[in-house]
């Protein structure tokens, strides 16, 4: 029998080869899917961990241990305190292989002669390894390391003495050991702390000041009852990749009552995201594989059924000889099963190979291989079952029918019922998917299946209409004398199984359209998101001495102003982005997308940067201040120009402390420089002081009368203290000319929401500053600012930005005090914004911001064509680059997430499906070719022109192919119109930018091109071969 089967396979090698290829395709997809899912699950997890925020890779355990003045407490060595924290906190979370860091902290204020900054003193393991220290690392008790910013604000340097003030305790004297800047503020070491630059996540963190670092002994010796302690564990990335369950178990303490200790982490969020990504990959790939498998099985069914036509006489012959049933099946099924087995072996090898090539290796090779094997076997069994069903008709047929040359064309009721069932199931599924799609986050199988269901409905309806339509066209063509058209249409109508292959082609083309649509939408989405999230083609996160230095360094690095822009990005809550930009460069450098709407970027820059009075500046040298001090009854409200004594009701001062006049300036590096005049007292007189640290010039910030308290520190003078400035002259001439001093519009008080005073008045070229009374003494201020920027600050907002229910709109610019703002433009959204966004001019914002916070992220935005030398010039300008991102790299990272992985597989599966149905089409044509060739040859013998034969052949096959392509693309467009994007573009549900909805013409065009290439080629091949067969028959 084997020889007989071998002979049959040899004789029908084309059909056998087609069945082999089709099965190979089905098994390849089935075998590839589990391996691909396994590999993709790991690679998306790797991408997730790569792209995770530092806080997601760290567990934070916060609590308290006994301080030196606790009941029965003593001053212990710092190491002992640290060890106690490690024991208590470490017992709560057990993460094998995790790196740990212990911190101790206490909140207070550091006070110098010239200032006071609220901050925390902090000890942290290995802190100096993560700090760029100028001076030395604090090792001894009483040594303190201040941030460069704090030291600058306090105007102290290494070796100076400062006081650390704790409430209800006498000040403790510290020695400044040096200054620092964070060397890796975005790194995991600083994650989930409010010490670093990655954002203060501790809601209880008080004061915007940078931490001051001390040794553990210093903290242990502080006169406090409890020492606040933090214990950070850095989770090994391997746990996210291979042991999510173990990680979850280890994090069971999160959110639980652990007594004095609180465990928090964002790792659970990351774990959830990885789970969602894995689910999405599994679902997306699984559904694509199942769709293709079903398509393959149907394709195989039709291919086998058509080749079964050729086996009918064989079966009839065996039946005639009374052959046993099993022998009939053996002969019939072997002719399909043998090529299927070979195809399966080949397909499994190819599928695994391609999956490995595309998705990479998997960790658990054995289990992935077993799963792939099982899937491949299932695909093979499905294929064999399809073949059995296809051959079953022949087995049931009577011998007489089987031996007849022309098979019965009668259509059984079973086929009608199957069609009806498929339509009902598809319609039900489509409705269900439509109903569930209301929930945008719902990524169920049904939503993913919706396009396929639409395709099935369209295909079956079209296939049903095909036969009567072709028949009608044939009749009409015959009546009007168009013989080729009549013959082509009539044969189309009468060919058995044509409508099923047609339906299959429509479905395959529609699935390709959907897959290409999903793929291009996701690709575009990733590019747009990357562009949006970065804001420019390349973004450097940097450290600079100050915002002014950042601006200056960037301008120096790119004097043309077309390639680089200084940006400071900060957040106001999780959903609001504040973007301060060097607005003159905004239009040239920012990656402004049309979808943002609003005025063009160049117009925005003008709105953000209206003209303002020029800044006043002075170089180093001797300064002379012409000033008068008076003590008047303290005004309750700012007095008018004619009422320097204020409105009635003031009270006379009882004592007068010595008054100093401070001149605040800022040098080119952004460092604040203060010059002290006085003590000043009594009538108008000139006082001199020497300015240094300004080199070519410092910008004048303002003038501030202060008094001295008992400890010799600067404080706001008594209410009613009035200082009139008549002039300030430097070596180069007047620094504050009378025109400026006498123009009240050039002076303003502080813009802080709670700031009270000073009262400012100008008269006859002189500025009068009067300290006022306030309900809360700390709110009083006497600093008179020079106006050299607009106030309120002009901002451009996103359309959804909220306006305050009462009072002036304000923003905590750079994370510090809230400054008044004025909306000058509205756009849809802004680069890097998530929900709400504000855009402002960096220079103006920097000038108006008082007590700016530490939560800002200085950046340099670069264009794609930026000169590579810019980085060196930035470094030369004192800017340190701590991260470098490009939108291409970010796009690439998004490309490694789950949706692209699933979409990639869908695309491959759709292409495979198209090839498969084209193969089935070719088989159908090949099987019916001899018969059709004989018919056409007979017609040719009767006088039908050869050209007419060609037209019949081409019209029949290529026409069918083109009709299927058009309908398939139409079904895909319909699916895009009535269903939403089946696979979300991003697994985190990012939807800041609007996604194009409805039929997308470019992807549909691409799918059309692909379908034309594959199905069109199959149709053309079938037509050519038929014409050739007719020629041979006619010879």
């Amino acid at each position: 029998m084997f020889k007989v089967v071998r002979g049959a396979l040899r004789a029908r090698r084309a059909q056998a080869a087609t069945v082999l290829v089709l099965t190979g395709l089905a098994v390849a997809v089935a075998a590839a899917a589990p391996w691909y899912v396994s590999a993709a699950e790991r690679s998306v997890a790797v991408a997730d961990v790569d792209g995770a925020r530092s806080s997601e890779l760290v567990v934070w355990v916060a609590g308290r241990v006994e301080g030196s003045i606790a009941a029965g407490g003593t001053v212990r060595p710092g190491a002992e305190v640290v060890s106690e924290v490690e024991q208590q906190a470490g017992a709560l979370v057990d993460l094998p292989g995790a790196g740990t860091t212990t911190s101790l902290r206490e909140t207070g204020s550091i006070v110098s002669d010239l200032g006071k900054v609220g901050l925390r003193v902090v000890y942290r393991d290995d802190m100096c390894e993560h700090l760029a220290v100028e001076g030395s690392c604090p090792r001894e008790r009483g040594e303190v390391l201040l941030s460069r910013r704090t030291a600058q604000a306090l105007q102290v340097k290494a070796g100076d003495k400062v006081d650390f003030a704790l409430s209800s305790q006498p000040p403790i004297e510290f020695t400044v050991a040096g200054t620092y800047q964070l060397s890796d503020p975005l790194g995991p070491y600083w994650a989930l702390t409010d010490y670093g630059g990655s954002g203060a996540l501790d809601p209880s963190g008080d004061g915007p000041g940078d931490p001051a670092f001390v040794s553990s002994d210093t903290i242990a010796a502080l006169p406090i009852k409890e020492i606040l302690a933090d214990y950070h564990l850095r989770i090994p990335p391997g746990m996210f990749l291979d042991d999510l369950a173990g990680l979850r178990a280890a994090l069971a303490a999160v959110g639980r009552d652990n007594g004095a200790w609180r465990v928090s982490t964002d790792a659970v969020t990351l774990a959830g995201r990885i789970d969602r990504e894995r689910d999405l990959v599994g679902l997306g790939v699984g559904l694509a594989a199942v769709q293709l498998l079903v398509l393959c099985w149907f394709g195989l069914f039709f291919a086998v059924r058509h080749t079964a036509e050729q086996r009918r006489p064989d079966i009839g012959l065996l039946k005639l000889r009374g052959a046993a049933r099993w022998r009939l099946w053996h002969l019939a099924i072997s002719q399909s099963a043998v090529p299927m087995l070979f195809g399966a072996a080949l397909g499994a090898a190819v599928g695994l190979g391609v999956a490995r090539l595309v998705a990479g290796d998997v960790r658990q090779t054995a289990s992935a291989a077993i799963l792939s094997g099982v899937a491949a076997l299932a695909a093979l069994i499905g294929a064999v079952l399809a073949a059995i069903v296809a051959d079953a008709g022949g087995m049931r047929a009577p011998v007489g029918d089987l031996l007849r040359h022309v098979p019965s064309r009668r259509r059984g009721w079973r086929a009608e019922v199957v069609d009806l069932l498929i339509v009902l199931v598809a319609a039900g599924g489509l409705y269900q998917s439509y109903a569930t799609s209301v929930d945008r986050d719902d990524t169920t199988g049904l939503a993913l299946l919706a396009p396929a269901l639409v395709a099935v409905l369209v295909a079956l309806a079209a296939a049903r209409l095909l036969t009567p339509l072709a028949g009608g066209v044939g009749k009409r063509a015959l009546r009007s004398g168009h013989v080729p058209a009549a013959l082509g249409a009539t044969q189309l109508a009468r060919r058995p199984g044509t409508h099923r292959v047609f339906a299959l082609l429509v479905i395959a083309v529609a699935l390709l359209g959907t897959a290409v649509g999903g793929w291009t939408a996701a690709t575009d989405g990733r590019v747009e998101r990357a562009r949006h999230e970065l804001g420019a083609d390349r973004v450097l996160t940097v450290q600079a001495r100050s915002r002014a230095q950042l601006v200056a360094a960037v301008r120096a690095a790119d004097p043309g102003g077309r390639q680089a822009m200084a940006v400071v990005r900060s957040l106001n809550g999780p959903a609001t982005v504040l973007l301060a930009v060097d607005s003159a460069r905004f239009a040239a450098v920012a990656d402004w997308q049309a979808v943002y709407g609003g005025p063009p970027p160049a117009a925005l820059a003008d709105l953000l940067h209206p003209p303002a009075p020029a800044a006043l500046s002075t170089p180093d040298g001797r300064l002379t201040l012409d000033v008068e001090v008076k003590l008047t009854p303290a005004p309750l409200a700012p007095p008018g120009a004619d009422d320097p004594g204020g409105l009635g009701g003031g009270i006379a001062p009882t004592a007068s402390d010595p008054v100093l006049v401070l001149l605040h300036l800022m040098n080119a590096a952004g460092d604040q420089v203060t010059v002290r005049f006085g003590p000043v007292s009594g009538p108008r007189a000139s006082y001199t002081a020497t300015l240094s640290g300004c080199d070519a010039g410092c910008r004048v910030l303002g003038v501030e009368p202060v008094a001295r308290n008992f400890a010799g520190r600067s404080v706001v003078p008594e209410p009613g203290t009035t200082v009139t400035v008549f002039g300030l002259t430097g070596a180069a001439g007047p620094v504050l000319p009378p025109a400026t001093l006498g123009d009240v519009s050039r002076w303003r008080a502080g813009v802080g929401a709670d700031v009270v005073g000073p009262s400012l008045a100008t008269k006859d070229g002189a500025l009068t500053i009067t300290a006022v009374r306030a309900a809360r003494d700390p709110d009083r201020a006497t600093l008179a600012y020079v106006v050299d920027s607009p106030a309120p600050l002009p901002v451009v907002t996103t359309a959804n930005a909220r306006t305050p229910a009462s009072g002036d709109p304000r923003l905590p610019v750079f994370g510090g005090d809230r400054v008044p703002i004025r909306t000058v433009g509205v756009v849809g959204t802004l680069p890097t914004a998530t929900r709400f966004g504000y855009l402002m001019d960096l220079e103006y914002a920097d000038r108006i911001a008082e007590n700016p916070g530490a939560d800002d992220v200085p950046q340099v935005w670069l264009t794609a064509d930026a000169d590579p030398g810019i980085l060196d010039r930035l470094r030369a300008g004192g800017v340190t680059v701590i991260s470098d991102k490009t939108s291409a790299a970010l796009t690439d990272r998004f490309g490694r997430e789950a949706p692209p992985a699933a979409l990639r597989f869908q695309l491959v599966a759709a292409l495979a499906g198209l090839l498969l149905t084209a193969g089935a089409f070719i088989v159908v044509a090949a099987v019916e070719r001899p018969e059709r060739a004989a018919e056409l040859a007979a017609l040719r013998a009767q006088g039908l022109a050869p050209r007419a034969v060609s037209r019949v052949a081409w019209g029949g096959y290529l026409g069918l192919a083109l009709a299927a392509i058009v309908l398939g693309i139409g079904a895909s467009a319909l699916a895009q119109a009535v269903t939403r994007q089946p696979i979300p573009l991003f697994v985190d549900g990012w939807n800041v930018l609007p996604v194009a909805v409805g039929p997308q013409f470019v992807p549909l065009g691409l799918a059309l091109l692909g379908a034309l290439l594959v199905v069109g080629a199959a149709g053309a091949a079938a037509a050519t071969l038929l014409v050739r067969a007719v020629d041979e028959e006619s010879v």
């Binding site: 049959a8 005639l320 000889r321």
Partner: protein, 288 residues
């Protein structure tokens, strides 16, 4: 296996079709003795092939009884008929190519046709080579159908038909499209089979010479047994319902509706047309 007797009694077969029913056989009575050779002749559409299909069990009669050996085919199940075809009734279809798998060798084709009989007790099968030898195809076991000349192809089909040593061999048009040499080869083979095995042979043919050579030729006309030729002499046949068909050449003289009186004297039956003015003298005839 020795030859099987065949008996058809008032066999009627009607083809059901959408355009209307077609009566193919309308009361066939026929008896064939075991080991007899018989030709079924008649014009196209007369019902010859239908009768053979009924004898082969490929169709069931609409009415009447068909017996092959001891079996009443109308009462057998499909499986029993199938088994009968595999062991006792050999069928050779019209057109040699329809009887063989084109991709298998002659030896394999014969071997396949023996499979049912091989599983049945009491049947001794001959070697395929021997069977091919019997039909004059010695040494051609490895050949395929396309390798053979037309006459040899038909004998190859015959070899498949007799592969299981059937008691009844039904052969449809074995000599059509063959030259006289090929025809003789085929008929020789049939006679050899009949002579060596005693197989009852029924041959459907258009060729009167084939009928003459087989010794007994039954003419089927309009779905009935119209006449029978034996030993070179033609006979009309009285059917089971008492009807007798006149020979066509006689019938041509009498249009439908012609009335006869039937006279019987001295063992001779005379048919006398009803009116002398209506029927010319010369048109009177006898039927025996």
């Amino acid at each position: 296996m020795s030859g099987l007797a065949v008996a058809c009694r008032r066999v009627v077969h009607i083809y059901r079709a959408e355009a209307g029913d077609v009566v193919a056989l309308s009361g066939v009575d026929l008896s064939i003795g075991p080991g007899e050779m018989l030709a079924l002749v008649g014009p196209s559409g007369s019902g010859k092939s239908t009768l053979v299909a009924l004898l082969a069990g490929l169709m069931r009669p609409s009415a009447g009884r068909v017996n092959v050996g001891t079996y009443d085919l109308g009462k057998l199940s499909d499986a029993e008929i199938s088994r009968l075809r595999g062991t006792q009734i050999g069928v050779v279809l019209q057109g040699a190519a329809r009887n063989l798998l084109p991709y298998a060798s002659l030896e394999r084709n014969v071997w396949l046709a023996q499979r049912r009989a091989a599983r049945t007790e009491g049947i001794e099968l001959e070697d395929p080579e021997r069977i091919l030898d019997l039909v004059g195809l010695r040494g051609k076991g490895a050949a395929r159908l396309t390798d053979l000349a037309p006459g040899a192809r038909q004998r190859a089909a015959l070899a498949v038909g007799i592969a299981a040593s059937p008691g009844l061999l039904l052969v449809d048009e074995p000599t059509s499209q063959l030259d006289s040499h090929g025809r003789d080869e085929v008929l020789d083979a049939l006679e050899t089979v009949n002579a060596e095995r005693g197989t009852t042979v029924v041959v459907v043919t258009h060729d009167a010479e084939v009928g003459a050579r087989l010794g007994r030729a039954v003419t089927i006309r309009d779905g009935r047994v119209g006449a029978e030729g034996r030993g070179g002499q033609d006979f009309a046949v009285v059917a089971g319902d008492g009807t007798v068909q006149l020979p066509p050449d006689v019938l041509g003289h009498f249009p439908p509706g012609t009335l006869f009186t039937v006279d019987q004297a001295d063992g001779t039956v005379t048919l006398v047309p009803g009116g002398a003015a209506q029927i010319p003298e010369s048109h009177t005839g006898d039927a025996a």
